[in-house]
Structure formats: structure tokens, C-alpha cells
């Protein structure tokens, strides 16, 4: 187990932001941390990075207890804050050198590492420009480079792709995929659920101060993901028609006016649907297949806990 949080509690005054949070991240895993705005994702990541303290609970990182090893752990962790802040009068090359010096690297190592990282995040061309003149996305890229400077075993990324253009997002996703091959453990929060679908092994959903769901992504997909057929009828649908449909492979039926959404098992294909529709024997206008995605799952799980 690379990251373990047990019963983590954090209060700001009377505001209990985290109220017994539990999660487990295994070595080499990419963990997607989801939740609404203001639910406490950044707070959790600040705690994991050792930037702020917590009121109660236990954290172990790489089998080391957070309370007794706060400073040792910092060397093992790379952290990309939500909005990384640098010294604006430095160039990115100077900033990376500064971080290298803080970490105690020698001149040559710093030179090599700076070059590698600036290439990785595609900032070589602006490496001698002042960071103060960078766009939000460029700062984000630099932040990613900085977080990886020390070859950390654990990377905490707070919304790594939020400020990036589509190419930038793709780059970041590829970078993270490569990290996985290196056996680095990644804990990342994001609002962009399609990113999570593309790279995460496990997701955890934070809601009301607790993790309300934690599951491997493939298991989650098996459990929640299914096909949805959107069927448009010529006339509004009445209850009798709905009652007629009894097939046990249908998981859910939603109806609004003349549109029906049929949630069905994965292994059902259009032939079964057409057979069903012909039995109903009412005119239809269109039939569309859609796949539910993580967003649907997220909304569903949160609604169940409302």
C-alpha cells in the first residue's frame, strides 16, 4: 500500500471539511479523486503533501507514518498544487535550478534534469522567459515539471489538466501514462471525468466529508456502466406502453414525453431492441445507442447519497 488514509478529519473552525476519510492507493496505481467544488479535494492533497496539518486520523505513505515522518516524506512526494505559484521574476530555467539547489543536486545534474523536464512539458522555447509573463497553462506545465524534479515515488496532482488546451491535456495524460510504466504512484484530482476514464485504475468519490465510493475503474464500469438506447416515438408515451415492457435485461426506463431512455445490459444489442419495439407496435422516429460514462456514474452515486 503506497498511500493510506484512515479516518482523516480536518476542520476549519466549525466547518468539518473532512469527516473520516478513508482511502487506499496501491503502488503504481493511478488514483482519480473526484468530488464537487469545495468538497475538500485540495485540502486532502495539501494534507498528503505535508503543507497543512489535520485534526484526526492516520496517514501512511510508503509505509511511513505521516505524523512522525513529515519531513522525510516530503522528499518522496512530488506535488502539483491546484494553482502553482512561482517567483515571477525568475525564468522557468532559473526556477527549476532553484528547486534543484533546494534538493541538493549538483550543477551538472541540475542542468541535465532541467533540460529533460523542460522538454517533457514542452517549455524549452520559453525556458528563458520570465514566469511572470506565462499563461496559466504554461505555469501548469512548469508546475508538472517541478513536481517531478526529484523523481518522486508518489505524485500528487491537483487538477493537472484544468488550465490546459486540448493538446496540453493530451500531453499531460501521456506523461501520466508514462509514469505508470515507471511504477510511480499517482493521486490526482480532476473535474474532467473523461481524463479519469482514460488513465485511472481506481476512483474515489469524496462527498460530505467522506469517501462514498472507492472502486477499481473496471469493476465500476462493470457494475454501473451499461448501454442506453434513446428511443423517440411519434406520440407521447403512456403508462400502459411502459407497463408492457417486462424484459429482465432492462435495468431502467426513463420517459419524458415521446422520448424513452432504456438502460440495458452490456450484452444486449440493437436486434433485441428492435424485436422489443416491434412487439410494442407503435410508430417510432429514431433509435440511438449511447454509452453511459463516468459522469453518469458520478451523478448517480452522489444522488444515491443525497
Amino acid at each position: 500500500m503506497m498511500i493510506r488514509a484512515e479516518n482523516l478529519t480536518k476542520r476549519y473552525g466549525n466547518n468539518k471539511v473532512l469527516n473520516g476519510v478513508n482511502f487506499n492507493v496501491e503502488k503504481g496505481e493511478i488514483y482519480g479523486f473526484l468530488g464537487h467544488n469545495g468538497v475538500g479535494k485540495t485540502t486532502t492533497m495539501n494534507i498528503l503533501a505535508g503543507i497543512i496539518g489535520y485534526n484526526d486520523g492516520d496517514i501512511t505513505l510508503n509505509s511511513l507514518d505521516m505524523k512522525n515522518n513529515r519531513s522525510n516524506l516530503k522528499g518522496m512526494i512530488g506535488y502539483l498544487p491546484e494553482e502553482p505559484k512561482f517567483y515571477p521574476y525568475m525564468t522557468s530555467n532559473e526556477y527549476l535550478t532553484f528547486i534543484g539547489e533546494v534538493l541538493g543536486f549538483n550543477k551538472n545534474k541540475i542542468k541535465v534534469r532541467n533540460k529533460e523536464l523542460l522538454e517533457l512539458v514542452k517549455l524549452e522555447k520559453s525556458s528563458n522567459r520570465k514566469i511572470g509573463g506565462y499563461s496559466r497553462g504554461m505555469k501548469q506545465r512548469l508546475g508538472i515539471a517541478v513536481s517531478m524534479y526529484n523523481n518522486p515515488e508518489i505524485l500528487l496532482l491537483d487538477e493537472p489538466s484544468s488550465a490546459l488546451d486540448p493538446t496540453g491535456r493530451k500531453d499531460v495524460i501521456n506523461i501520466i501514462k508514462n509514469l505508470k510504466n515507471l511504477g510511480i504512484t499517482v493521486f490526482l484530482s480532476t473535474h474532467i471525468l473523461s481524463d479519469i476514464e482514460r488513465i485511472c485504475d481506481k476512483v474515489g468519490i469524496l462527498y460530505n466529508g467522506k469517501i462514498i465510493l472507492e472502486e477499481k475503474l473496471d469493476m465500476l464500469k462493470q457494475r454501473y456502466l451499461h448501454s442506453i438506447y434513446d428511443i423517440e416515438f411519434e406520440n407521447n408515451i403512456n403508462q400502459e406502453t411502459i407497463d408492457e415492457i417486462k424484459e429482465d435485461w432492462i435495468k431502467d426506463i426513463e420517459v419524458k414525453d415521446n422520448i424513452m431512455n432504456l438502460h440495458v445490459d452490456e450484452n444486449i444489442d440493437s436486434r433485441d431492441i428492435i424485436a422489443l419495439l416491434s412487439e410494442l407496435n407503435i410508430p417510432i422516429l429514431s433509435l440511438n445507442l449511447r454509452r453511459s460514462n463516468l459522469e453518469d456514474i458520478f451523478i448517480k452515486v452522489v444522488n444515491e447519497n443525497e
Binding site: 485540495t42 485540502t43 495539501n46 503533501a49 505535508g50 503543507i51 497543512i52 496539518g53 519531513s71 516530503k74 522528499g75 512526494i77 512530488g78 506535488y79 498544487p81 494553482e83 502553482p84 505559484k85 512561482f86 517567483y87 521574476y89 525568475m90 532559473e94 532553484f98 528547486i99 539547489e101 533546494v102 534538493l103 541538493g104 508546475g143 517541478v146 524534479y149 526529484n150
Partner: protein, 255 residues
């Protein structure tokens, strides 16, 4: 040690690129030139305004007088410039969250605080010395009648330097306590400007760093026997203030 050297370089870069050294230098050196000139011109100006007045009562028109005037402005105006320039030394970093990345990279916090102190302590000490030297030679030029021994001026400059080192530790401490740098500035200035009032209470005046300003003003060899102890005491205050600052910065929540 790594953090310390990294931050020495960083503060040096910041001091130059954000013109902090330049502003402090202006705030200290400008009066080194202005004060002797003003003193030289004052009688001529006043003569036209109020003919027949006895001007010798008004000021000490000698090199000594010029240097003492300079020290008065160092206390009143240079302090203001230094505090306003450096009040954000830590509070800006806390407010702007620029410490988050270094903190998450195992930075040595003691190294940060010491590096900041040492860079500006060095700068201020050197600038003060230059200020006194300029003041000395310029006032010598304007008032060649009674010339003071340069050794005394260098001594006063060092005493004043120690006094400014104390004020620097005060600003640094205040800057670690407030997220708003202006709050740190106002509090530091209040303490600095109110300390002459404490000096009026005979018994404790010697224990206040402001006592150094009084002693520097003497400009002769008649320093009080307590001066050395006072300098030592000021260094003790500085160590204590830096110690509290380091403690505070180790405890601080950065979000």
C-alpha cells in the same frame, strides 16, 4: 544548507530584479548628499527670509552638524523606506503561496529565514557604510573648517548598522506574523518610532536598541561605557526575533 544557499541566490536575484536594493540604497544614500547641502544653504535661504536673525542658534553649521542631521534622517526616513520595502519579506510569500512548492520539496525552513535575513542585513550594512562615507566626504567638502576624524564616523556608521540590523529582524518577525504586509509594516514602524519615547525613561533606556542611535550621534570618543553591552544586547534581541520567526515559519499553515 542547500536551502540556505538556494535562498541566498533567490533573495539576491529578487533584491536586484524587484529593485529592492536600489530603493533601500536611494532611501539611505540620498540624504547623505542632501543633508550637508541643506545645512550649507540654510543660512542663505533664511537670510533672505528673515534678515538680522541670529542663525547660529538654529543649527550646528559644521561637519559634525551635517553628519548628525544625516543620522536624524536615517532614523526618520531611511527606517520608513527600509520597512516599507521589506515588510513583505515573508508575508507576501505566505499570501502569494510561493512557499508551497519549496515546502513540499523538503526545503529547510530555517535556511529560508536565515538567508532572507543575511542577504538584507549584508545589503543594509554595506549601504549604510557607503552612505556615511559619502556623507563624510561631502560634508568635509562643504564645511572644511572643523574636520572630524573619519574613524569616529566609521564607528558611528557601524553602531547605526547594528541598529538597522535589529530593525530588520523586527520587520522579518512581523512579516511572518501577518498575511497582510502593510500590517507588518505599520506595526514595525510603530515600534521603531515609539522607541525614543521609551528612551526617555532613564532606567530602561539603555536596554532599548534606540540607545544605539543616541550613542552614534555623539560622534566623539565619549561613548557611554554601556555601549558595548548595548550592542551585545541588541544582537541578543536579533537572535531572539529570528528564533521566533523560524519557529513561526515552521508552524505555519500555508494554504
Amino acid at each position: 544548507m542547500n536551502s540556505f544557499t538556494a535562498y541566498i541566490k533567490k533573495e539576491y536575484m529578487e533584491g536586484i530584479r524587484n529593485f529592492k536594493f536600489l530603493i533601500i540604497a536611494l532611501g539611505i544614500i540620498l540624504f547623505a548628499l542632501l543633508d550637508p547641502l541643506m545645512l550649507k544653504l540654510l543660512p542663505h535661504i533664511l537670510e533672505n527670509q528673515a534678515p538680522g536673525m541670529d542663525l547660529s542658534q538654529l543649527a550646528n553649521y559644521t561637519q559634525e552638524g551635517a553628519i548628525q542631521n544625516y543620522m536624524q534622517n536615517l532614523f526618520q526616513i531611511s527606517n520608513l523606506v527600509i520597512v516599507l520595502t521589506l515588510m513583505g519579506l515573508l508575508s507576501e510569500e505566505i499570501k502569494n503561496k510561493t512557499l508551497i512548492i519549496p515546502y513540499s520539496n523538503k526545503v529547510n525552513i530555517n535556511g529560508i529565514v536565515l538567508a532572507k535575513y543575511i542577504v538584507y542585513a549584508g545589503a543594509i550594512f554595506i549601504i549604510i557604510l557607503i552612505g556615511f562615507l559619502i556623507n563624510y566626504y561631502y560634508s568635509k567638502l562643504l564645511f572644511p573648517e572643523e574636520i572630524i576624524n573619519i574613524g569616529r564616523v566609521l564607528k558611528s556608521s557601524s553602531i547605526f548598522g547594528v541598529y538597522f540590523l535589529f530593525n530588520l529582524s523586527l520587520v522579518l518577525l512581523m512579516s511572518s506574523l501577518f498575511r497582510k504586509s502593510i500590517a507588518a509594516g505599520i506595526l514595525s514602524l510603530s515600534i521603531i518610532y515609539l522607541s525614543p519615547a521609551i528612551g526617555m525613561i532613564e532606567k530602561i533606556s539603555k536596554f532599548s536598541p534606540y540607545y544605539l542611535v543616541n550613542q552614534a550621534n555623539i560622534l566623539s570618543d565619549n561613548y557611554d561605557s554601556f555601549l558595548n553591552k548595548s550592542i551585545l544586547l541588541t544582537f541578543i534581541y536579533i537572535f531572539i526575533f529570528i528564533g521566533i520567526t523560524i519557529y513561526r515559519m515552521n508552524k505555519i499553515e500555508l494554504d
